[in-house]
Symmetry: C2
């Protein structure tokens, strides 16, 4: 069990209330839940698990050393509870029914001194505290950095759910027919403009996420292989936090469109989409609430330019950005008149421009609030929160489009490259289309260019709708994992839902290469 979250503190982990007091005479820690808000909540496997990694405030001789992680026995293999530990079952959830979640309560629970996980902080027998990281703040960040790999895992899970949903919705949209020209066969529902407009951008985003996740995983593997601390890699922290938020929200939006685009069939459990939705709904909340993740992105982006923490980061960063950004911005403006919106280079420039302008304006706003007007930092930050989350989203959008573009360049197969190129253009078009109001406000798009972006989006969605069958086949998910009868996987319990797998219009069933 991983026991970090408490009733009173989920996002603000630093504020957890569980206590771990060192008792020198017995060389034990006394783990204690001092109030209802200190109860460890939503703990997975709480009703069956034997051992928990519990985060608690380390207290030695009345002195607070901040959150540390302790191994606490919960019950033995016969289910007999460790003295002082009690649990409460939290019962039913929207999804993830395979995991039980419960509450852990500690009533002066005694554990040996050796049960402190001591990588970041060690307590000697005589009660002396030592740590390789002198700053309390940095030590806390180092502990939280342990969450970075699990956030990337969650991104992969969200992407898997998204791909499953898309396989099901795309195949059914190529099988199911409804409405059509007078006195002719009804058309496949993928032909309806709104249907391909709803599904194709999600498919492009799923591909973008695939390549961006590989990139993040490579960076992380590299850091771990070389024994580098993840927490000092600010851009990786920003990337993973941003990916976690972007992928889990994208997944929910995608699955919801898949549900609606498959109509009544999509509401039936046998077709998988409902349970994918319900299981992955909480992804936006756990392992760091998405709204908090977006703030982490911006915090990490800010601190990568300066070693100073607190309010002074605003100054350092303002200096840094104002010098580095002005030239690049000018380039963007100059190049505007010669670029075409149908060109990937234009789209890449647009998303880069947006991130830089949002960064610069946020830094300048924070600077004037905190440095000039002496506003309290939390209040100033909170009054910019919409700006902060917008910048974080712009950052992750930019990275996904860049990674997608790189993947296209490096693709060794000509046909695949041509196919990916179209989806990459679609992803970029969709990103710029979503934010076209911002580009219009900043005169980066003319009204005409903005209308062109819309036409381009509609046209691209129409033009890739048949290729979509090849892409979902290339996801390479075996039928035993797809299951849904409307996607061509027969199920004797729901014969009524079966639709034979649609033929790829190109002729033969596509071979997987991705």
């Amino acid at each position: 069990m991983f026991a970090m979250t408490e009733r009173g503190h989920g996002s603000n982990v630093r504020g957890i209330l569980t206590e771990a007091r060192y008792n020198q005479s017995t060389q034990e820690f006394i783990i204690h839940t001092p109030s209802k808000d200190a109860q460890k909540m939503y703990i997975g496997n709480a009703m069956k698990g034997n051992v928990a990694a519990v985060f608690a405030q380390l207290i030695i001789n009345g002195e607070l050393h901040g959150p540390h992680c302790f191994i606490v026995p919960i019950r033995d293999q016969n289910g007999v509870m460790w003295p002082g530990v009690s649990v409460i079952d939290m019962m039913h959830k929207e999804g993830l029914h395979g995991v039980d979640n419960g509450i852990l309560i500690f009533e002066h629970v005694r554990i040996p001194r050796e049960y402190l996980l001591s990588k970041f902080g060690f307590v000697a027998a005589d009660g002396r505290y030592s740590s390789p990281i002198p700053s309390k703040q940095s030590r806390f960040n180092a502990m939280l950095a342990a969450l970075t790999p699990t956030r990337l895992c969650l991104t992969v899970q969200a992407m898997a759910a998204m791909k499953l949903g898309l396989i099901i919705a795309v195949r059914y949209s190529h099988s199911r027919r409804q409405f059509g020209p007078k006195d002719q066969d009804e058309v496949k529902i993928i032909e309806h403009q709104t249907q391909n407009l709803r599904l194709m951008p999600h498919l492009a985003a799923a591909l973008a996420l695939t390549f961006t996740t590989r990139y993040a995983a490579d960076l992380m593997d590299d850091a771990l292989y070389h024994g580098r601390d993840l927490q000092s890699n600010r851009s990786l922290q920003a990337l993973v936090a941003g990916l976690k938020a972007y992928s889990t929200w994208q997944n929910l939006a995608c699955l919801q469109d898949c549900r609606e685009c498959t109509g009544g069939m999509g509401f039936m459990m046998e077709n998988r989409i409902p349970s994918l939705k319900c299981d992955s709904d909480v992804f936006v909340t756990f392992e760091g609430d998405n709204m908090v993740m977006l703030q982490v992105v911006v915090r990490e982006l800010l601190t990568q330019y300066t070693k100073q923490m607190g309010n002074n980061l605003v100054m350092g960063l303002l200096r840094n950005w104002s010098s580095s950004a002005s030239d690049s911005l000018r380039t963007s403006f100059l190049s505007f008149s010669v670029d075409k919106v149908g060109d990937l280079t234009f789209l890449l420039k647009a998303v880069r421009y947006r991130e830089r302008v949002l960064q610069r304006s946020l830094a300048s706003r924070l600077h004037s609030k905190v440095e000039k007007n002496k506003e309290e930092f939390f209040m100033a930050w909170n009054s910019c929160l919409h700006h902060v989350t917008t910048l974080a989203t712009a950052h992750i959008h930019r990275v996904t489009l860049e990674q997608f573009a790189l993947a296209v360049q490096e693709c060794p197969d000509g046909d695949d490259r041509a196919l990916l190129d179209k989806f990459c253009l679609l992803h970029g078009t969709s990103l710029v289309y979503q934010e076209r109001a911002w580009y219009l406000e900043h005169n980066y798009l003319t009204a005409n260019a903005s209308r062109q972006i819309r036409s381009q989006l509609l046209e691209l969605c129409r033009s890739v709708k048949d290729d979509a069958l090849k892409v979902v086949a290339d996801f390479n998910i075996p039928p035993c994992c797809i299951q849904a009868p409307i996607a061509g996987v027969a199920n004797p319990r729901a014969e009524w839902a079966f639709y034979a797998q649609p033929q790829y219009p190109g002729g033969t069933q596509p071979q997987s290469k991705l």
Copy 2:
């Protein structure tokens, strides 16, 4: 049981395949399912019900008379099936577990001639067919108009789910605290800019829907009281179809934000939001898929200007709009410079302008495609589908803002009027903010005005966040219907989720007046 939908035809009801052949010798209809696609699907109460209203193609002496509705016995009170009828259980769904859904299959099922519901079409003993509505198309529309009242009911249900979700999320957001200024108490999460920005526009929309639904219900009551046919009231048909789509989508978006804004607590079944979401998810699909509803809105808007059906409607309507719209458009342009974005009048003009311009441009596009370029109507319509659904949304947005504004005007209590006024302004601001790209493209907003709209949205959400407690109290939903412990309703099964109901910052708990 209401048995309209078939496996092969849900949205396109006219294409249903179930047959009802008249057998003159026995004076019976033979109800028959000729193929798998003709099976009646998703039928509520299929596993228990005794009688079904079955839509089938009426055939007399080989001549087709289109869909009619027949009373078909399914099983007697002991559960013994009527000869030739069989059912299949469709098992588990995402939600609505209180209703079983199943498939009805008819194998030459014989029913008496009198079992035809004969308001719109009558078959005499000798097989002669007669109808008070000569046109087949109009007759079909008259039958479908029976769905209009149930669509309005669904709007009310979606609104109820939305209000429940909002009560729970707003109260918890006023109870739960997280993060805050250094060395001070943590703040209520409603204080976080992103939290009130996510919840307050939904609350404004819930109020707008309340007044718009009352308006639609009044129109419908009036029509029914005077015995007028609903199907001839084009604007009512458009309104109800639009309301159904808008309210059910708004509800899902609202509940999703409520779920995410209540974090882990919102994922627990005891707090109600998951089941509200899962139950109401299918609202966007049944009683007319939302994408189809939006097309109904535009079709009805078009035909209310012309009695001609088919392609010629484009001509009539183009004539009509070009004459009526030009003056009003000019007014909007002229008034632009003197209006302020913070003024409700400006917002009302904006949403009216948007609807008119979208109408005019759609009519002109359809005209050039169908009349000039002789494109097939379905294909032309499909290539404009994004435009069509945008217009339909603009129409319903305009009506909700107008009805909200009227309700504010007519509110007898000064305090309530002042409160509603703020939420009405918020609703209008939120509608224009969502579509600011379009307004920028059409030079209806300057870049500065667009930025002002954003600031105004942020500021309004902040300023009404405490009033929100009064509004949700005024929804007047009794605690036994709210249930959720995080909203202050104790539940012995989940004491861990209880948060006392937050106090209204104004002092005393608000009295309900709305």
